[in-house]
């Protein structure tokens, strides 16, 4: 597969290490009342869609960026690649 890195352009996916669903960015609030349940769901439950999937890839043999790749799990077509850091900020994560 080829991942079109937002900074570097097309790079072979073998340069990357895969983590999983980009929902792993949405780490729950540790102080929330339902934190135990929220962390369980965050840690263990997945949509696992047959279709578009937002997922985290680390450019291990490259610039060490974490990317969020939107890829179809039935065709492997990649429709979007973003820097995870940008997406994390967009989803409200900060410090």
């Amino acid at each position: 597969m080829i991942i079109n890195h937002p900074l570097l352009g097309p790079r072979d996916s073998s340069e990357f290490t895969y983590l999983g669903d980009a929902s792993l960015i949405d780490r729950p609030d540790w102080q929330a009342e339902n934190a135990a349940e929220a962390f369980y769901e965050y840690g263990y439950l997945r949509d696992n869609p047959a279709g578009k999937h937002q997922e985290l890839w680390f450019h291990e043999a490259g610039d060490r960026s974490w990317l969020v790749v939107t890829r179809d799990t039935t065709t492997h077509e990649i429709s979007k690649v973003e820097l995870a850091r940008d997406l994390a900020r967009a989803r409200g994560r900060s410090k």
Partner: protein, 186 residues
């Protein structure tokens, strides 16, 4: 001055040189390295300080630039600084004082081993080693890539000259891979 004697990454007292069919692979220990990473929110001033340090515009993504002190892009808001070892053994300190609080600086001199390839058929060698698109890999380009499972930087300095940086501990394996590719391709 201290009295400890250095050895090269390949374990010799002198750098190793191999020539096959018009391409030379030379071990280059005489280089000092330091990494620079902009501090959060200081990207612009870091870039400015870096440009001043190398006497050239701060290299963009996938580029390298500079004269005596050169810099190459290593990641978002990160660069590696190269300079002659003889004169810049304390490169990290020099860079830190140039960058001030705009960037984090880390000594990288001995994190890496460098092999320079010279000759007119470098692409034939490189295409057996890494997946770079050599059609677009002109002078001034740099890319991180994997060579036989070793993470490397490759810099194109001119059509007949490039540098390969690999982790120092893997110097033997990297050197073996390069020379085997030279024997195969040339």
């Amino acid at each position: 001055m201290h009295d400890l004697v250095a050895i090269t990454a390949l374990g010799g007292s002198e750098p190793q040189v191999d020539t096959v069919g018009g391409v030379t692979c030379r071990e280059v220990p005489a280089v000092a390295l330091a990494s620079v990473a902009s501090r959060m929110g200081q990207e612009a001033s870091a870039s400015k300080a870096l440009a001043k340090l190398i006497g050239a515009p701060t290299p963009d993504v996938g580029q390298h630039a500079g004269e005596t002190i050169t810099a190459f892009w290593a990641g978002p808001d990160q660069w590696m600084i190269e300079a002659p070892f003889e004169t810049h053994e304390d490169l990290a300190d020099q860079v830190k004082s140039a960058m001030g609080d705009t960037a984090s600086v880390t000594e990288q001199t001995d994190g890496w081993t460098r092999f320079d390839l010279n000759g007119d058929q470098i692409p034939a060698v490189l295409e057996l080693l890494c997946m770079l698109d050599l059609r677009k890999f002109d002078a001034g380009c740099v890319a991180r890539c994997s060579i036989h499972h070793v993470g490397c930087f490759v810099l194109c300095r001119s059509p007949e000259s490039c540098s390969v940086y690999g982790p120092r501990s893997s110097a033997g394996s990297l050197h073996h891979a390069i020379v085997a590719a030279m024997r195969s391709a040339l």
